[in-house]
């Protein structure tokens, strides 16, 4: 009985167990997981997938990059790696160093000779469709040859790499490139665009390569800021390379002779022959003629002589360049204004600020939050731009300061996570540097007399303040100093000699500050900083030389002004608004008397003065804030500044050159005092090989206690200060190193 009772009890319990079951929801969920696991195992076993996988692998294994690309990229990487290993710092601007530039030039020359000898070109496709190259305007007969088809060229036509553009008789074309450079084709000219490149991660890094097959091509480069950027024109075995700002002309004569002329700033020239490669820099006013046969001669470098036809071509292009630069400036202002939703002073501005703060608080991912901070900073900059345009510099100042401090804050924050989140930090840093570089490029055309100059200054200051480490800061300061020289060039072009003098002075002061800071650095950093100084100084010397270089005008004739078709008294009609910019219209006729009359050209315009009954203006007066005294109207048509102003600029430039050479000597001596520096020695050797206008740029000789530098007739010797001993404490210690010009 007891056993039966226990069986019944057990039976009841067992029956209760059968009531236990999974809920329907859990059943469905479990089935899903099991079926997924089953299916996954099928992946490998299903014959169709197995065959598909095999086929994918087979096809992909046959894919590899072009051999040419593989080899060139490896060379480039090894060069960078070698430099970092020997210099213990990374030079993203790998083309900046003298040695690497020469290695690059040699590599380029090798490619060049290969191209010339085997008549092949290298095809590198446009990497970034949003940076366009287009036909800006056409007149007459213009054709484009693309993939074997001939297309009629119209204004607005988008151009690609490998396109060939031809102009016929009495025809012209203007091309605007993806880097904002512009080229103008004369009649009976043919060019091929061989490369158009924009780095998708840093859009200020661009490369444009053009081949001139026949005719004449004027090129104006207005704002390349990245040291890896270049604008190149190849004609036969001559290659002209502009790296920052330049105006240059390349032509091929009917006899097949190529000629490169530097009209503004400077342009590097590489000429490849069968026996050797020649590299030099042409500064303003100098040209080089290159014979067509590859196995003869070196380029013939000479100073430009006045030529009526040449002057007309040059003059027309310079006028159009000025008009183009003004449109670029206006575009910059318009783009920044478009970003502004609301300005300080608007009753709702506080609400906008609150909304931005709220957005930042609600961004939970730290890196996203920092990116948003950068975007907010950009809005501040845009607001400052609008206020500056309105003349409210006081209102703009706090916004500019806020921009700088926000960007610095983000950079500082990123440093803390560099080791743990390298990829995310790299992304943030890339965002900041791309942003600043983008602004720097846009604002490169802005000059000290422009309302937006404060923006340009704050961008430069921010780049310096966020530079990582003393050496990077030195490099950035040197870059900002060089920009002063570029501004001086632009000011000279506008006839503003006083402004140019001011900028050269600021350049000198900036370099002095840098050199003083470098002297205080620890020896490892000092060596790297001195390397950077040597690189910069060599290029700056060329820029200084270009500032005061002029084409020969010994036989220039003054052109008396017969009549003025348009006279500006402060509100000139901008050339951009005139349908045919070379025709001057309107106004009352009024003769100008040289030596007596003055002209004031307001705003950002230029006007043309017609001296005869011709349609083309013979004289151009560039925009200037100061009255231009019509003292002399020389060949080339630019109203010349007074002799006193010219003399002052020359003197300032000469002082700057002397100081540049002295500081270079001091910097080298600083390094040599501690130890013999192989990299610095190597750089000095490389500088000895640098050419300008067909002649050596400078010669540097080191002895134990002295550095002697010879350049263009100047000889500078720098010695260390005397050592103070107890017996000689009554003697004064010189504050600076003695210089014996």
């Amino acid at each position: 009985m007891d056993l039966l009772k226990s069986f019944h009890s057990l039976e009841k319990k067992l029956k209760k167990c059968s009531d236990v079951s999974l809920s329907e929801e859990k059943q469905v969920d479990m089935k899903r997981r099991i079926m997924e696991a089953v299916v996954q195992r099928e992946v490998v076993n299903e014959p169709a997938f197995a065959k598909l996988i095999e086929k994918i692998k087979e096809i992909a294994e046959q894919l590899s990059p072009r051999e040419h690309f593989r080899v060139l990229l490896k060379e480039k990487l090894l060069m960078i790696a070698h430099f970092q290993a020997s210099r213990r710092f990374f030079l993203p601007a790998w083309c900046r160093t003298t040695f690497v530039r020469r290695a690059f030039a040699s590599g380029l020359a090798f490619v060049f000779v290969f191209t010339v000898l085997f008549n092949s070109t290298f095809k590198i496709e446009l990497a970034q469709a949003s940076f366009l190259t287009s036909l800006e305007s056409v007149s007459g007969e213009v054709e484009i040859v693309r993939d074997g088809s001939v297309i009629v060229g119209d204004a607005g036509f988008i151009l690609k790499a490998d396109d060939v553009i031809r102009t016929g008789e009495d025809s012209k074309a203007i091309i605007k490139f993806l880097d904002q450079s512009v080229s103008r084709l004369d009649e009976n000219t043919e060019i091929k665009i061989s490369r158009l490149f924009v780095n998708p991660l840093n859009k200020t890094e661009t490369t444009v390569e053009v081949v001139l097959n026949k005719g004449r091509l004027w090129s104006r480069v207005i704002n390349l800021i990245n040291n890896l950027s270049s604008f190149q024109v190849k004609a036969h075995n001559a290659l002209a390379v502009a790296k920052k700002k330049a105006a240059f002309d390349v032509s091929i004569s009917s006899k097949g002779q190529a000629k490169v002329s530097a009209v503004k700033n400077k342009v590097d020239l590489v000429v490849a022959t069968e026996r050797k490669v020649v590299e030099t820099t042409l500064v303003k006013g100098f040209s080089a003629e290159v014979k067509s046969e590859v196995n003869t001669g070196l380029p013939k470098v000479s100073q430009e002589k006045p030529d009526v036809d040449q002057d007309k071509w040059v003059l027309d292009n310079l006028v159009q360049d000025q008009a183009y630069i003004e449109t670029v400036k206006q575009d910059v202002k318009d783009q920044m204004q478009d970003q502004v939703k609301m300005l300080p002073g608007n009753p709702l501005y506080a609400v906008k600020e609150l909304s931005e703060s709220t957005k930042l608080v609600l961004t939970f991912d730290d890196f996203d939050k920092q990116k948003k901070v950068v975007m907010v900073a950009q809005e501040k900059l845009a607001e400052a731009e609008v206020l500056l345009e309105k003349g409210d510099a006081i209102g703009a100042d706090p916004l500019l300061k806020e921009f700088q401090s926000q960007v610095e804050g983000v950079q500082q924050w990123a440093l803390a996570f560099d080791g743990t989140h390298p990829v995310e930090v790299m992304e943030l840093r890339t965002m900041i540097s791309s942003m600043l570089d983008g602004y720097e490029k846009q604002l490169a055309v802005i000059l000290p007399d422009d309302s937006l100059y404060a923006l340009k200054t704050v961008i430069g200051d921010t780049k310096v303040s966020i530079a990582a480490g003393p050496v990077k800061k030195t490099e950035e300061k040197l870059s900002q100093a060089t920009e002063k020289l570029n501004e001086a060039h632009d000011l000279v072009e506008q006839g503003n000699q006083a402004g140019a003098v001011q900028q050269v002075q600021e350049y000198k002061n900036a370099i002095s500050d840098v050199v003083s800071e470098v002297k205080q650095m620890p020896s490892d950093d000092k060596e790297k900083a001195v390397s950077a100084i040597i690189d910069t100084k060599a290029e700056d010397l060329k820029s200084l030389e270009a500032l005061v270089s002029q084409p020969e005008t010994a036989t220039a004739e003054a052109k008396p002004v017969v009549a003025v078709e348009q006279l500006s008294t402060g509100t000139a009609t901008p050339f951009a608004q005139i349908p045919e910019p070379t025709i001057v219209i309107q106004g009352t006729s009024s003769p100008l008397v040289p030596g007596t009359d003055t002209l004031m050209v307001g705003g950002s315009s230029t006007i043309g003065l017609i001296t005869k009954q011709s349609v083309q203006p013979d004289v151009i007066v560039p925009a200037t804030q100061e009255p231009v005294v019509v003292t002399e109207l020389g060949a080339g048509g630019i109203a010349k500044p007074s002799p006193a102003q010219t003399a002052e600029l020359k003197k300032t430039v000469a002082d700057a050159k002397t100081e540049t050479l002295t500081q270079l000597g001091e910097a080298v001596l600083e390094v040599q005092q501690n130890k013999v520096s192989v990299p610095v020695m190597q750089k000095l050797q490389d500088i000895k090989k640098m050419d300008m206008n067909g002649k050596p740029l400078m010669d540097i000789t080191l002895s134990r206690d002295k550095v002697t530098i010879k350049s263009d007739g100047d000889v500078i010797s720098v010695t260390p200060p005397p050592v103070i001993t107890p017996q000689t404490t009554n003697l004064k210690t010189p504050e600076s190193l003695p210089v014996q010009p």
Binding site: K51, R70, L77, P200
Partner: protein
Amino acid sequence: MSLKDPQTEAEIELLVVTAQKGSSEAFGKLYDIFVNPIYRYIYYRVGAGDAEDLAELVFLKTWENIRQYRKGESSFSSWIFRIAHNVVVDHYRAMHPSDELSEEIADHRRESSATATAHRRFDNELLSVAMAELKDRYRQVLILKYINDLSNEEIGYIMGKTQAALRILQFRALRSLKKVLERRGISGLDV
């Protein structure tokens, strides 16, 4: 040379250590090992036009950051492919900064370039076109798994996914690719 081969892995790690000390020769050898896989990865993700330029950027960034690589966190293969992934993502953003880059959405920019003509021959061109029609994450997992031959662990690190999630993703990616190929006249028996 397979990146999964243990001898290759050991060789790679040794080269990395040497390169971190500044050896350009070691970095050159790493370049030789990875240039084809990285190029293929980028080629099938963004196309021929930009592949070289982006591949160059990957190696420049690799050199720039090589000292920050730590063996314990991931293999070097994973690390360099992670850089490649970020370069591609930045490229997408640079081309269309206003678009939210969602892996859920098929890359319509690439769809518009795909031809509708049926291909009978399964070659690189067809594979590229077919891959272009897939969602980006499907494309990525196929490239990393079957073209670059990485392990699921490595792929998980690069894509930020668990192993289980990856297996499902691989299956779905293959199934999608198979459907695309079938629409173009390539059935399972024809491959």
